[in-house]
């Protein structure tokens, strides 16, 4: 038992030596959470403004939509159209947070799925604001990427211009496209409203802004973001088994009187400690922000930490069966993203089509996340809790046994 502790302590010491990694694990959920809250209007109060200069050389439908979307991020970003030269001058004077240059041909390239580059010059004297601009832009670019997947074909045909020498598109095309967009927007509007609407605002849809839903929407994101973070942490901590193998320390462990079960337990305990810290910070902030009933906070922290342990075991069992460190990384990433997307750990279940939710709740993270939601909203019954814990412990036990077995039978030696 003592060796379990010293292994956990040793891993904590190692995590502490890597403050950047640790800060990422804590910082990412908080940063994304803040962005979403800001994007959906927040809860009022004065917020810092990001002054973003935009030199839209392209001046296309896509680039306009992008700029409009930036401007709509909860009023956090103030965009100002400039020419490239003027923008550069203002930046040189240090009078704006960032300058975004949208190159000629960006819109067309985007629609045709060719690689394009956006240029973002940031003001080195401001530390946080340009960072927000950068983060927002990258989220929007991702969002546009998904939008492109959903309606890309239609957009492409529009980009190529009307067919048969006509000057305008036939009404039927426009109608079809609008109703398709409408359907998609209906499906995703709850969480993506500012972004998608901005994209569609000009040609088709009226923005449907219902303010009183805002707090609820952000609240739905709280468990999702926490689980996203847990998934990444689980992957990172599991990859440490490969580090132990590569730096031969795992071999040394095998030559001591200790066994791999104790070593693995220590490693999980170490990981669980870090996860408990991240869960506590995120949930305490979340509880305070959303005024949730504090009585369920300890249970929420405990449950999400244990869920993290479950995910860690899942990642570990995959990692130790991979042929190389690189293979392990690719394999877990390939599993991580679908799990994250389908399992409600990025977009909440409430924003997904029902068939996907049914499927998503069967993923380990999706299942654990829906239990956490019950805890957060005080809907968890005692029997439900008992069942959930039993299920979790059973699955963890099976995964743990498989990993420990593999560690003993060749992973350390190979």
């Amino acid at each position: 038992m003592r060796f379990v502790w010293s292994t956990a302590l040793k891993d904590w010491q190692r995590h502490r030596r890597d403050p950047v990694g640790l800060l990422m694990w804590i910082g990412i959920p908080i940063l994304i959470g803040s962005l979403i809250i800001m994007a959906s209007g927040g809860r009022g109060g004065v917020e810092p403004k990001v002054q973003l200069l935009v030199a839209d050389v392209d001046d296309s439908f896509v680039s306009n939509a992008l700029v409009a979307a930036m401007g709509q991020m909860g009023g956090l970003i103030e965009t100002e159209p400039v020419t490239r030269e003027d923008g550069q001058k203002i930046m040189d004077d240090g009078k704006a947070s960032a300058l975004l240059v949208i190159p000629e041909g960006f819109g067309l390239a985007f629609l045709e799925e060719k690689p394009t580059t956006l240029e973002l010059l940031t003001n080195p004297s401001q530390q946080i604001l340009p960072g927000i601009a950068e983060e927002t832009l990258s989220i929007l670019v991702d969002a546009s990427f998904y939008a492109q997947r959903l309606v890309g074909e239609d957009l492409q045909s529009f980009a190529q211009g009307p067919s048969g020498g006509a000057n305008t598109f036939p009404d039927t095309d426009i109608m079809q496209f609008s109703s398709k967009v409408n359907r998609i927007v209906d499906n995703v509007s709850n969480y993506l409203s500012p972004m998608i609407i901005a994209l569609e605002k000009e040609p088709v849809v009226e923005p449907e802004d219902d303010d009183d839903d805002d707090i609820n929407i952000s609240l739905l994101f709280l468990p999702s973001i926490l689980f996203m973070s847990l998934l990444f942490m689980a992957q990172g901590i599991a990859l440490d088994l490969w580090t132990e193998k590569d730096q031969m320390t795992l071999r040394r462990v095998v030559t001591t009187p200790q066994n791999t079960v104790r070593f693995l337990s220590g490693k999980l305990l170490g990981g669980a400690g870090v996860m408990a810290m991240v869960c506590s910070i995120t949930l305490i902030i979340g509880y305070a922000y959303f005024d949730l009933r504090l009585a369920s906070l300890p249970l929420a922290i405990l449950w999400s930490t244990l869920s993290g342990v479950l995910l860690m075991n899942l990642m570990m069992v995959i990692q130790v069966h991979a042929a190389s460190r690189r293979g392990a990384g690719i394999l877990t990433t390939a599993i991580l993203f679908p799990l994250m997307m389908v399992g409600g750990s990025f977009f909440p279940f409430e924003a997904m089509p029902p068939w996907m939710v049914t499927f998503g709740k069967l993923t380990p993270n999706g299942w654990a996340l829906s239990q956490l939601k019950l805890i957060l909203f005080d809907d968890m019954t005692l029997t439900g809790l008992g069942k959930a814990f039993t299920g979790l412990v059973l699955v963890v036990a099976v995964l743990f046994a498989a990993t420990a077995r593999r560690l003993r039978s060749g992973f350390a030696q190979g």
Partner: protein, 309 residues
């Protein structure tokens, strides 16, 4: 006591160790000498519990490795050929963790850590992360981690590879002092001088088999009083063989078209005779090396090749 009996280890079709037996006694250093790929590390790994032997019996201080693994490993200290350290931890933290793995703790562990840090000359850098250490310092720490729990039996797998001469001397002294304190040491190396300098008993291993074993003295005697003469050039093996047969107290160890190895007594005084015979046999000599009896010459005599590539 480390007792190895008919140890075999197969990797698929490859026989890395093909039936090796020896015994390392307390208070003495047993050297396992052999070229790259001879099976030294494989043997050590079978003793340390890292590999499962394909056949044979291994015991450490009376505990069978196969049936009594944890007890046998408790007696063992291992210094692996490749560094096995936590790069982001300090020297002291590394030692603390490995000490704890053998059940040490509290004041006893602290005292021992201080001691091995001094022994390996790392006390001034004890708090620094290992990743900032030089290669030689890492070697020393790797060694320290293997002896921190005061093991009764030590497995040292080429512990001096890549260190400067002073560090080497220091490490060898350390090995000596561990033995003087009663430890039983198994030491692998492909450095002849090292083996000759510190080993009490020796086995020469090649292709997974022990080809000679005994004390240093016994092995030297196997060479007789003969020197070893290595020649390169162009030779006519058959004619050379006839010529050498006429030579008294000489033996042809190996003969090929471009190299020739002879073992003969009092070689330096008889060089001109040897050259005469070889010339008569149609040889063209370009280079000559004369080695006096040593492990090196024994190895060459036994295998027909040099120990170091």
């Amino acid at each position: 006591m480390i007792h190895v009996e008919e140890l075999q280890k197969q990797f698929g079709d490859l026989t890395a160790v093909g039936g090796v037996s020896f015994e390392a006694r307390p208070g003495s250093i047993f050297g396992l000498l052999g070229p790259n790929g001879a099976g030294k590390s494989t043997t050590i790994n079978c003793i340390s519990g890292l590999l499962k032997p394909s056949a044979g019996r291994v015991s450490v201080m009376g505990h069978d490795v196969a049936t009594d693994g944890p007890a046998s490993r408790r007696q063992l200290g291992v210094v692996p050929q490749e560094l096995a350290l936590y790069e982001d931890l300090s020297a002291r933290e590394n030692l603390g963790y490995w000490g704890a793995a053998y059940g040490m703790r509290g004041d006893r562990l602290k005292r021992r850590i201080k001691e091995v840090l001094e022994l390996t000359g790392l006390q001034d850098r004890a708090k620094e992360a290992v990743k900032n250490f030089s290669g030689g310092m890492k070697r020393r720490l790797n060694f320290a981690c293997g002896i921190v729990h005061e093991p009764k039996a030590l497995l040292l797998d080429e512990p001096t590879v890549g260190v400067d001469p002073q560090t080497r001397v220091r490490l060898l002294e350390l090995v000596r002092s561990e033995t003087d304190n009663g430890a039983c040491v198994l030491y692998t190396t492909h450095y002849m001088e090292e083996a000759e300098a510190i080993c009490d008993d020796l086995a020469i291993i090649d292709h997974g088999l022990i080809i000679a074993a005994g004390t240093l003295k016994e092995l030297r005697a196997m060479m007789g009083e003969r020197d070893l003469l290595r020649l390169t050039g162009t030779f006519e093996p058959n004619q050379v063989m006839e010529g050498i047969a006429r030579l008294e107290d000489a033996e042809l160890v190996q003969a090929e078209a471009d190299t020739l190895t002879l073992s003969l007594a009092n070689a330096s005084a008889r060089l001109s005779t040897v050259f005469q015979i070889l010339n008569d046999a149609g040889s063209d000599i370009r280079e000559t090396t004369l080695t006096q009896p040593s492990l090196e010459s024994l190895f060459i005599k036994l295998t027909g090749k040099e120990l170091r590539e």
